[in-house]
């Protein structure tokens, strides 16, 4: 016991040196706390994203393959029954599936905003058939919760969200344009399948603060009402299934199959191919999107980690040197104690416990300060990295790719980008890790000095002085 009280007294007797040791230790602890909290949070977020985006399989048509087929004059199956896509979701490799599909539509009773022909436009296709000019877009989705803009840019202002089959919600602008109110029925026709008629009851009207056109170049060659977001008519995916729509022809599908483990991708693909998915479809995880979202986090993690290693190494060297110098300075004191009959081991315990006590005090302060500064530092690092990541991203590539009569909206990262903030908190495991690192460091550095000093015989130490 007196060893510890002596150690405490010694801390006070060498204030200057101990303050210096404390400052270095504090720097080490704070940077370790910051690094570990950031790394931990980043790892957690990456894990979450891995479970979501990283395990989200899209089944989509491969336009390059289809174009080649057209050039080759092949007529392989391009369309498969919609019910097959639903059947894929029964796979044992999945934990969850979301469906959304957009139908380019036309109506002679519901006029689209920006429609120059007021619903009178027609187009003659290559095979001689006549097609109505698409002016509207029927957006169907398996769960209204998944609609990206609701709750942020869009808000139901009248009525409610759709629920049952053949219920729909439309924008205030579209409603006003056609003098529609909640309870009215609208009739729309598939632009590419003119015999498909949807008769939908408007159950809700929403305010819409999204950009009308996602990209300004869309309107460069004339108005394109079907791409004006005010012209979306939103309904449940079941509405589409319940219609006589048999295949995915004329649909912009966006089906997401969530693997229960990201490694099941290959097995899942084998299974759906066996169920008849043609090779004109890609089965893939959006790796680019996954990396774009997790990239900034990984960057921060590695930057923080490098920083921590540098601080730890430099800190350990400094502490080791200081401990060595301190012990040389204290040689005489050790000699006296040894002469008084204090054993080597007890001298060592005394010196090590001094180091550990400093470390313990620094731990308390460091954990507090570290957890307080971790969040602002992480936010600072993130904003830089996210900006970097977004600059690399091609703004046009992200959305509204119009090809082969099909519309591709988004790459699945909506809702992830930007990861401008991660919530940090100091978990028990981190605290434990830091305690081990700090006490280990303190013990390690003091042991260097202790080993040197206790080698000496007390008589030799005392004699050197005289």
């Amino acid at each position: 016991m007196y060893l510890f009280t002596n150690a405490i007294k010694n801390l006070g007797r060498n204030k200057g040196r101990n303050m210096l040791i404390a400052v270095i230790t504090l720097a080490i602890i704070i940077s370790t706390v910051v690094t570990l909290t950031i790394n931990n949070a980043a790892a957690r977020v990456v894990d979450d994203i891995r479970l979501d985006l990283g395990s989200r399989v899209s089944v989509r048509q491969d336009f390059i393959e289809m174009r080649q087929m057209g050039l080759d004059g092949r007529r392989d199956a391009q369309h498969i029954p919609l019910t097959d896509f639903v059947a894929f979701s029964e796979s044992e490799f999945l934990r969850h599936t979301t469906f959304s599909a957009d139908v380019l539509a036309w109506s002679d009773s519901l006029f689209a905003i920006d429609d120059p022909n007021l619903g009178e436009g027609t187009r003659v296709l290559d095979d001689g058939s006549v097609m109505n000019e698409e002016t509207l877009r029927l957006v169907t989705i398996s769960d209204p919760e998944l609609l990206p803009d609701f709750g942020t840019l869009r808000e139901i202002v009248d009525g409610r969200m759709f629920d049952g089959i053949n219920e729909a919600v439309i924008s205030e602008a579209l409603a006003a344009h056609n003098d529609i109110s909640v309870g009215d029925t609208i009739e729309i026709i598939g632009a590419y399948a003119t015999d498909r008629m949807f008769s939908l009851t408007v159950v809700g009207i929403y305010s819409d603060a999204t950009d009308e056109y996602l990209n300004p170049w869309i309107t460069m060659f004339g108005l394109f009402p079907a791409l004006n977001r005010r012209n979306e008519i939103i309904a449940s995916f079941d509405t589409l299934l319940a219609s006589s729509w048999e295949t995915n022809a004329g649909l912009d599908i966006d089906f997401h199959y969530f693997l229960s483990n990201p490694d099941y991708l290959e097995a899942f693909e084998v299974e759906v191919r066996a169920m008849g998915l043609p090779f004109t479809y890609n089965v893939d995880i959006n790796r680019a999107a996954f990396e774009r979202v997790t990239g900034p986090l990984a960057g921060i993690s590695s930057a923080a980690f490098t920083f921590m290693v540098v601080v730890l190494v430099l800190g350990a060297i400094t502490l080791g040197l200081m401990s060595y110098m301190a012990v040389r300075e204290r040689k005489y004191e050790v000699g006296v104690l040894r002469a008084m009959g204090l054993e080597r081991g007890r001298v060592a315990i005394g010196i090590i416990s001094e180091a550990v006590m400093i470390a313990a005090v620094c731990l308390v302060i460091g954990l507090g300060v570290g957890s307080a500064v971790a969040q602002p530092i992480a936010n600072g690092m993130l904003s830089g990295r996210v900006a970097e990541a977004e600059a690399v991203e091609n703004p046009g590539a992200n959305r509204a790719l119009f090809a082969g009569g099909q519309m591709q909206i988004g790459d699945g990262t909506a809702g992830y980008v930007p990861v401008s903030e991660i919530q940090l908190n100091l978990g028990v495991d981190i605290i434990l890790q830091i305690i081990i690192i700090t006490l280990g460091l303190a013990a390690l550095t003091s042991i260097i000095g202790v080993v040197i000093i206790t080698q000496y015989e007390p008589l030799i130490i005392l004699r050197e002085r005289t």
Partner: protein, 219 residues
């Protein structure tokens, strides 16, 4: 009763050819004061470091209460059985006088009481005000007295002193010698004092002289 016994002890410092002590034999009994005299460089301090267990002799044997000092735990011997007053005091400079005393008590495993420490310091002429000052701020004479008090703090059987009164005036020297003789006669301690002073050697029950590496009795 023989407390310490030297049997054919020879000693030379590491790296030196010359023996400082050459096959010396002597014995020290409890209840007596021994004075060791000799010229400077004769080997008095060397002998004391062997007797106090700070150094070990490789040639010859030193027995403490019949046990070979080579074989017993010399840390324990120093902390419990022997009290050493060093020529240059060897106190903890950054600690107070009283702390030096209580720490010695604690190392020996005794219950340490500040009151006891104050009393000890008072006996060697250190007043209450001085006891709470750091050793660094004490005069040589005061440090010497604290050194004496520390040597007695853990109530050792053997008290070994190297020129203990070198920095003291005659009046204090007389008081200290009084303490030493009291310790031997009343408390049955074995007191061994290296000295130049005739005053000191005069209180010795036995006076040894070291010269030419040999030890001899005077008187």
């Amino acid at each position: 009763m023989k407390c310490l016994e030297l049997m054919d002890v020879s000693y030379r410092y590491e790296g030196s050819k010359d023996y400082v002590l050459k096959k010396i034999s002597a014995s020290f009994e409890a209840g007596k004061v021994y004075a060791i005299v000799g010229e400077s460089g004769a080997g008095k301090s060397t002998l004391l470091s062997l007797l106090s267990g700070l150094d070990s002799c490789k040639e010859g044997t030193i027995l403490y209460n019949g046990k070979n000092l080579q074989e017993i735990d010399r840390d324990e011997y120093r902390s419990k059985n022997v009290g050493v007053i060093f020529q240059n005091y060897n106190l903890l400079l950054n600690s107070t006088a009283v702390y030096n005393i209580t720490l010695s008590m604690k190392i020996s495993g005794d219950m340490a009481s500040k009151e006891q420490a104050y009393a000890l310091l008072k006996n060697v002429g250190i007043d209450r005000e001085t006891t709470d000052r750091k050793i660094l701020k004490l005069s040589g004479g005061e440090q010497q007295r604290v050194g004496i008090a520390r040597a007695l703090a853990h109530n050792p059987d053997v008290i070994i002193a190297d020129e203990p009164t070198g920095n003291l005036d005659e009046k204090t020297e007389a008081e200290i010698l009084e303490i030493f003789t009291h310790l031997a006669q009343e408390d049955g301690k074995c007191v061994i004092i290296v000295t130049h002073s005739d005053n000191v050697s005069s209180v010795g029950d036995v006076v040894y002289r070291i010269a030419g590496g040999k030890i001899s009795t005077i008187g």
